[in-house]
Amino acid sequence: MKKLICLLLSGLLLLGTAGCSGNDENVSFNVADLASDLRDSLTFQDNIAEIEPEMACTLYGIKESDVEDTVVYISGGATAEEIAVVKAADKDAAKAVQNALEDRVKAQEKSYKDYNPGELDKLGKAVLSKAGNYVVLCISSDSDAAKKIISEYIK
C-alpha cells in the first residue's frame, strides 16, 4: 500500500512539475499578424499608426540586437494607446524587452498624470504578456478583449 502511494505521489509530482514549467517554448507566430489583429479588433480612440522598428527600439530603450522582429503602433500624442508586439532574439532578450515595456507603461503613467489624466485608466489596465521569446504590450480601453486576442496567439 505504501509503495503504491509513493508511486502515485511521484507520478503526480512529475506531472505537476511539467505543467508548471509552462508550454510557451513552442510559441510561434507572426508579430505583424497579432499587431494588426489587435489594431483592427479593438476600438481605439486615436489613430494609432506604425513606427519603424529602429524608432521603436529607441523609444523603448531596447537594443536592436535584442529584437528579431517587431511591430509597434503608437498614438500621435492625443492618447496613451499603443500596441507593441516583439519577437526577441532569445530568452534573455525577451526579459529585457519585457522590462523595457514595463518601464514604458510606468513612464507614460507619470507623463499622462498631468498631461491627460483621462488616459490613466487605459494605462492602469495595460496588458503586457510574455510567452517564449514573444512580448506583447497593448494599451487600450478594452484590456479584456486584448487579453483574449493575445491568448489566441500565445497558447
Binding site: 509552462g22 513606427i51 519603424e52 529607441t58 513612464a107 507623463s111 491627460n116 496588458v127 484590456s143
Partner: protein, 308 residues
C-alpha cells in the same frame, strides 16, 4: 495512533496520515498545473499598476549621435495659468519681414537633417517618431518654455535626469528646429511666453552660434476644436504666431510659417489631420516633415526672415 495487541506484545501501528497529506498536496499541485497549462498567458500577464514592479521611472532615452530622445513629462496640455511666470513687459517689432516661399522641387533628402535637432512639445515628438528622425532630439508631452529650464525630463547616459536646457549641450548642431506654444496658449500673459521663448532662442544661439535657429509656428487646431474650446482657438494661435514671428525677427532667427500649409479655407487645421483637434495623424506628421525638407534650401540661404 492505534495500538494492537498480538501475543502479549503491544506495538504501535504506523499511520498512513503523512502519506495521505502529501498525496492531497500533490493532487492540489496537479490541479493548479492543469489550470495553468490551459491558460498559458496567466503566469506572464499582468495589469498595469497592480502588478508592475515598482522601480525608478526611466523617463527618457539619452540621445547619442545616432539616437532620438523621446521622454515623458508630467506637464499638462491644458492651460497652466498657475504655473506661468510673473508678468513682465517686452518690446517686439510690430511688423514681420516678407516671407519666402519654398518649392516642392527643391526639397532636400533625409541626410539634410543629419546635423539638426528638434526641440519642443508632443507635436515635435510625433514628428520625430513617425518620420524615423534619429538625430538627437529633445521633446516631451506637455513641454513648454518654462519647463524647458525646470523639468528634469531628460535621462543622461549615466542614468541621471536633467532639463532640456542642459541636455541640449555638447553637440554640434547646425540646424535647430524648435516648436513651442500649444501648451502655453492658455497662459494669462502672452508676453511672458514670448519673452521666455526668446530666452531659449538666445541660449541656443549662445550654445551654437553657427547654427540656424528655425522657430516653427504653432500649428492650427481643427475648426471643431477651435469652435468648442475657448482656449485652443485659431484666432489666439494666429495672434501668438505673429508675436513669435516678431520675436524671431528681433533675435535673428528664422521663422518657419508651417501653419500656413496646414490651414483649410476656414484657417483651421484640416479636419482629417487630427482625431482630437490638436495632434496630427501619421499622414500629417509626414507631410510636416516633407514641408521642412522643402524649406531646406531656403533655410540654407537664410539667417533670419520668414519661410513658408
Amino acid at each position: 495512533m492505534s495500538t494492537r495487541r498480538s501475543s502479549g506484545h503491544y506495538y504501535k501501528q504506523k499511520s498512513n496520515a503523512p502519506y495521505i497529506i502529501v498525496l492531497v498536496l500533490a493532487v492540489a499541485l496537479l490541479i493548479l498545473a492543469i489550470i495553468y497549462f490551459f491558460n498559458p498567458g496567466m503566469g506572464d500577464q499582468f495589469h498595469g499598476s497592480s502588478s508592475i514592479i515598482s522601480s525608478e521611472i526611466p523617463s527618457s532615452v539619452m540621445p547619442s549621435s545616432s539616437e532620438v530622445l523621446s521622454s515623458s513629462s508630467t506637464a499638462s496640455l491644458a492651460p497652466e495659468s498657475s504655473s506661468a511666470p510673473p508678468a513682465s513687459s517686452i518690446s517686439v517689432p510690430s511688423s514681420s519681414p516678407a516671407a519666402t516661399s519654398s518649392k516642392d522641387s527643391d526639397a532636400v533628402n533625409d541626410s539634410y537633417f543629419n546635423d539638426s535637432t528638434f526641440i519642443g512639445n508632443s507635436l515635435i515628438e510625433g514628428l520625430v517618431l513617425y518620420n524615423n528622425i534619429t538625430v538627437p532630439s529633445f521633446c516631451t508631452k506637455g513641454m513648454n518654455v518654462n519647463k524647458y529650464y525646470t523639468e528634469d525630463c531628460m535621462t543622461l547616459s549615466n542614468g541621471t535626469t536633467t532639463t532640456i536646457s542642459e541636455a541640449v549641450k555638447g553637440y554640434d548642431f547646425k540646424k535647430i528646429f524648435i516648436m513651442f506654444g500649444i501648451n502655453e496658449i492658455g497662459w494669462p500673459y502672452e508676453n511672458v511666453f514670448v519673452e521666455k521663448y526668446g530666452e531659449i532662442v538666445d541660449d541656443l544661439k549662445s550654445l551654437y552660434p553657427d547654427a540656424k535657429i528655425c522657430i516653427q509656428s504653432i500649428l492650427p487646431v481643427t475648426k471643431t476644436k477651435s469652435d468648442s474650446d475657448s482656449t485652443f482657438s485659431n484666432d489666439k494661435i494666429d495672434h501668438l504666431n505673429q508675436l513669435i514671428s516678431d520675436m524671431a525677427a528681433e533675435k535673428g532667427a528664422i521663422y518657419l510659417n508651417i501653419a500656413k500649409s496646414f490651414k483649410d479655407e476656414n484657417g483651421a487645421l484640416f479636419a482629417d489631420a487630427s482625431s482630437e483637434g490638436i495632434h496630427l495623424t501619421k499622414e500629417y506628421y509626414i507631410k510636416w516633415y516633407k514641408l521642412l525638407a522643402k524649406m531646406g534650401p531656403l533655410i540654407d540661404k537664410s539667417s533670419s526672415g520668414t519661410i513658408e
